[in-house]
């Protein structure tokens, strides 16, 4: 079980209000994406959920428990990979698991291979390309034992094909374990392909502009991307975002 409820969260930095009265929820086993313009406050929201800092007002509940300001309740990929330079790739990906208990190196190796990083287990982060680092951070989040996963643009540095593979893989894993996922992305197709629901944030301060519940069946496959229904949805969300950006 893992259900996140965000209740009327507000946050300012200095004079600048970033989040205004944001409320939504992610049900158990649900995959929800957040879309919003650059600088609108998506990462800030993640930091608040993760307990990095406290909101000025509002509450977060995980499975009914107030987790506002509490850390370690969720598994997380930061927007910049934040890898530990003195750890090898393998040591980096097990870090989240290590913190929560026992790391499983076998699983970690298997996951790295899936992410196209076989052969880089003993490399150091500075030896990887930008996209490879991002995948390492993603694998690290997947290997963390928490049931609720927050992913902050995990695939932004990937080319279309690698991205598609990672998406498929993510869906596979998710369908197996049905963790709840909150996903930040800039890519509307990605949001549509992956999510049960898409939440669109407005800009300065971010508030919930609109929520879309997607009807696509699971398991999904690549064909979906080419379907007419998908295109319609894409246009709808595109419009919504257009309004947000010109507000």
């Amino acid at each position: 079980m893992s259900e996140l409820v965000v209740e009327q969260v507000t946050k300012s930095f200095g004079d600048e209000q970033v989040l205004a009265d944001v409320s939504f929820s992610v049900k158990h086993g649900e995959f929800v994406s957040l879309l919003g313009p650059s600088g609108s406050g998506k990462s800030t929201l993640f930091h608040l959920i993760g307990g990095m800092y406290r909101p000025d007002a509002g509450t977060f509940y995980l499975d009914g428990n107030d987790i506002t300001g509490e850390r370690g309740a969720i598994s997380y990929t930061p927007q910049s990979p934040a890898l530990f330079p003195w750890r090898t790739i393998l040591e980096n990906v097990v870090l989240g698991a290590e913190i929560q208990g026992k790391p499983d190196y076998k699983k970690a190796r298997a996951m790295l291979e899936k992410a196209g990083l076989a052969g880089y287990e003993d490399a150091y982060p500075h030896q990887l390309s930008g996209g490879m680092r991002q995948r390492v951070a993603f694998v690290r989040a997947l290997l963390s034992p928490q049931d609720f996963i927050c992913l902050d643009e995990p695939f932004s540095a990937l080319d279309e094909f690698t991205r598609l593979e990672m998406q498929k893989w993510l869906l596979n894993i998710w369908e197996e374990n049905r963790q709840s996922i909150l996903f930040v992305t800039h890519n509307i197709e990605e949001a549509l392909y992956l999510s049960d629901r898409v939440i669109v944030l407005s800009n300065k301060p971010a508030a919930i502009k609109k929520e879309f519940t997607l009807p696509f069946e699971r398991p999904r496959d690549q064909e979906l991307l080419l379907s007419e229904e998908f295109l319609q949805w894409k246009k709808a969300i595109y419009k919504e975002l257009q309004v947000v950006n010109h507000a």
């Binding site: 993760g50 307990g51 850390r71 370690g72 530990f84 003195w86 290590e98 929560q100 500075h126 680092r133």
Partner: protein, 254 residues
């Protein structure tokens, strides 16, 4: 290989050059040996007197090794506890600084009264000298931990202890080594000074006796050994640093 060779050769060349200049000016300017003996004179005495001072040497090596080890431990413990307990840090940091301002001559009688003339007061003096640079550098290292990695650790629910062992400690390692280098440099001199507290052997004792009987050549033999010891210590620290920080490249590339 070649690189390592030049790395050791060039400082040796510089030192040899300095020695040559020293020797030449000693001879040309006719500097009296009681003031500044020429290197050759020092070497002669160093070779001839070996049996006389080797036990002094051993005693100092032992003393400085033990003292340095204790100093490093104390420095680390101080840095770690002050770091983990910020309120304690606030209150006790000034005491760290004050501890470096107690002249040994004042401390000496107290140490003697409390601990006698044994090895204990000497170790205290060396520790006092060595722990400080380590504590200050390591503390600064802890303080400068990467924000981004810290965010990750906190979000991942790492305990204070985990943050410490998995992030802050490895991150502070280079700073710790900075302090270690400074401390290693001071440790041998610290041992020599501590011997002035009252010891029956040691390079410090040998040196004072040489000084008071105007055997400047012997004084320089003593200095020579102090320097060699210190260079060896320093070399070991640098080797350890290479070993421990190898593989790890500049953090920000990540």
């Amino acid at each position: 290989m070649n690189k390592i060779a030049t790395k050791t050769v060039s400082p040796i060349l510089v030192i040899v050059a300095l020695l040559l200049i020293w020797e030449a000016s000693s001879r040309l300017l006719d500097v009296p040996a009681w003031l500044l003996p020429a290197p050759t004179v020092i070497v002669q005495e160093g070779v001839a007197g070996w049996v006389n001072y080797q036990h002094h040497l051993l005693s100092t090596i032992r003393l400085s090794l033990i003292g340095f080890a204790i100093g490093v431990t104390v420095g680390l413990v101080v840095a770690i506890s002050l770091h983990l307990l910020p309120t304690v840090k606030q209150a006790f940091y000034p005491l760290l600084i004050l501890s470096q301002n107690i002249p040994i001559i004042v401390l000496a009688p107290l140490l003697v009264i409390w601990f006698g003339f044994g090895v204990m007061p000497k170790l205290i003096v060396i520790t006092l000298v060595c722990f400080f640079p380590i504590a200050v550098s390591t503390l600064d290292g802890f303080r400068q931990t990467s924000y981004e990695l810290m965010h990750y650790m906190q979000m991942a629910g790492a305990s204070k202890r985990q943050i410490f062992t998995k992030l802050e400690l490895p991150h502070a390692l280079p700073s710790f080594f900075s302090g270690l280098k400074i401390a290693a440099t001071y440790s041998v001199m610290g041992a020599v000074i501590s011997e002035w507290l009252g010891a029956n052997q040691g390079i410090g004792v040998y040196m004072t006796l040489a000084q008071s009987s105007f055997r400047t050549d012997r004084v320089f033999v003593a200095i020579f050994f102090i320097m060699v010891l210190c260079m060896i210590f320093f070399g070991i620290i640098i080797a350890l640093e290479k070993l421990l920080i190898k593989g790890r490249v500049k953090e920000e590339k990540v």
